[in-house]
């Protein structure tokens, strides 16, 4: 198998495993996410374990990657270069957090739920795509 095909396969497998992780953990369920955010009410903190375990496993992989000059099936590690903490970052995070709290869906779970064919999920996804393009119009290419 050539490198290009192998890369595509790696990305496909990663997406599938990521999706299974969201489904197994219950992170795809808006009611569960809202209960996690309901710190001052009927708080259900269990989702902390999802973030904790995912960050730990990825941190280990990232550290392992430091020992390599390149990934296994590609020539460079595309490490994000931005380090600035500015108004753009914070306003984006706040707007996202408000939307996340309103319904309980962030982009990954919204995408993984598409094939539930639930019309409320589909409406959210349509608005999500529209919001992404509106921001692209307003601020230009992602940076």
């Amino acid at each position: 198998m050539n490198r290009q095909r192998l890369s595509s396969l790696v990305a496909l497998a990663s997406g599938l495993i990521f999706g299974f992780g969201l489904l197994v953990s219950g992170m795809n369920n808006p009611a569960k996410v809202r209960a996690f955010l309901d710190v001052f009410g009927a708080w259900e903190p269990a989702l902390i374990a999802v973030m904790g375990s995912a960050v730990t496993v990825f941190a280990l992989a990232f550290w392992l990657g430091r020992k390599r000059s390149a990934p296994v099936c590609a020539s460079v590690f595309h490490e994000p270069t931005l380090t600035r903490i500015d108004a753009r970052l914070l306003s984006g995070a706040i707007l996202f957090g408000v939307g996340w709290g309103l319904v309980g869906l962030c982009p990954g779970p919204a995408l993984v739920n598409i094939f539930t064919l639930n019309t409320d999920v589909l409406l959210f996804v349509a608005a999500l795509l529209l919001g992404n393009r509106l921001a692209h119009l307003v601020v230009g290419p992602a940076k």
């Binding site: 396969l9 790696v10 990305a11 497998a13 990663s14 997406g15 990521f18 999706g19 299974f20 992780g21 197994v24 953990s25 992170m27 808006p30 809202r34 955010l37 001052f40 374990a49 999802v50 375990s53 995912a54 496993v57 990825f58 941190a59 280990l60 992989a61 990232f62 390149a70 296994v72 590609a74 460079v76 590690f77 600035r84 970052l89 306003s91 984006g92 995070a93 707007l95 996202f96 957090g97 939307g99 996340w100 709290g101 309103l102 319904v103 982009p107 995408l111 993984v112 094939f115 539930t116 639930n118 409320d120 999920v121 409406l123 608005a127 529209l130 919001g131 921001a135 307003v138 601020v139």
Partner: protein
């Protein structure tokens, strides 16, 4: 708690596979944007990732998995929330996966600040809705 740990571990492994395999950060905001950049060869990986992600639900159900989705049916709320999440994650360059899982895993201060900020905004939003008696 077992399911949360197992699911989180799978998410971490998926992100690890993408990083060590092809050197890409598994951020859903970037994957979402790639839908509109599908002609760019350097974004092709994201479309394959998206294909895998979309396949997960049907396959999970086929294998007998249960994954309930309890969501509000208030159309205005859904539309407003989708717009806010799409707009906010684009200008903030990431969401729970890119900033939360990968950024914090890289020990990025910028991503950690972003993650704390959107979690606090989410907590404040739910608290305010409860205060106002908004049922979802």
């Amino acid at each position: 708690m077992m399911y949360e740990l197992a699911g989180g571990t799978l998410i971490g492994l998926a992100a690890a596979l993408l990083w060590l395999g092809i050197g890409r950060i598994s951020g859903m905001t970037g994957v979402l944007s790639s839908v509109f950049q599908s002609w760019q060869p350097q974004r092709r990986w994201a479309l394959w990732f998206l294909a895998g992600l979309l396949l997960a639900y049907p396959l999970f159900r086929l294998l007998g998995g249960e994954a309930p989705v309890v969501i509000t049916d208030h159309k205005g709320l859904l539309a407003a929330a989708g717009l806010l999440v799409g707009f906010g994650t684009y200008i903030g360059n990431g969401c729970t996966s890119g900033h939360g899982v990968c950024g914090m895993g890289r020990l990025s201060v910028r991503s950690t600040v972003a993650t704390i900020t959107f979690i606090l905004a989410g907590v404040a939003t739910v608290a305010m809705m409860n205060q106002l008696g908004v049922q979802v």
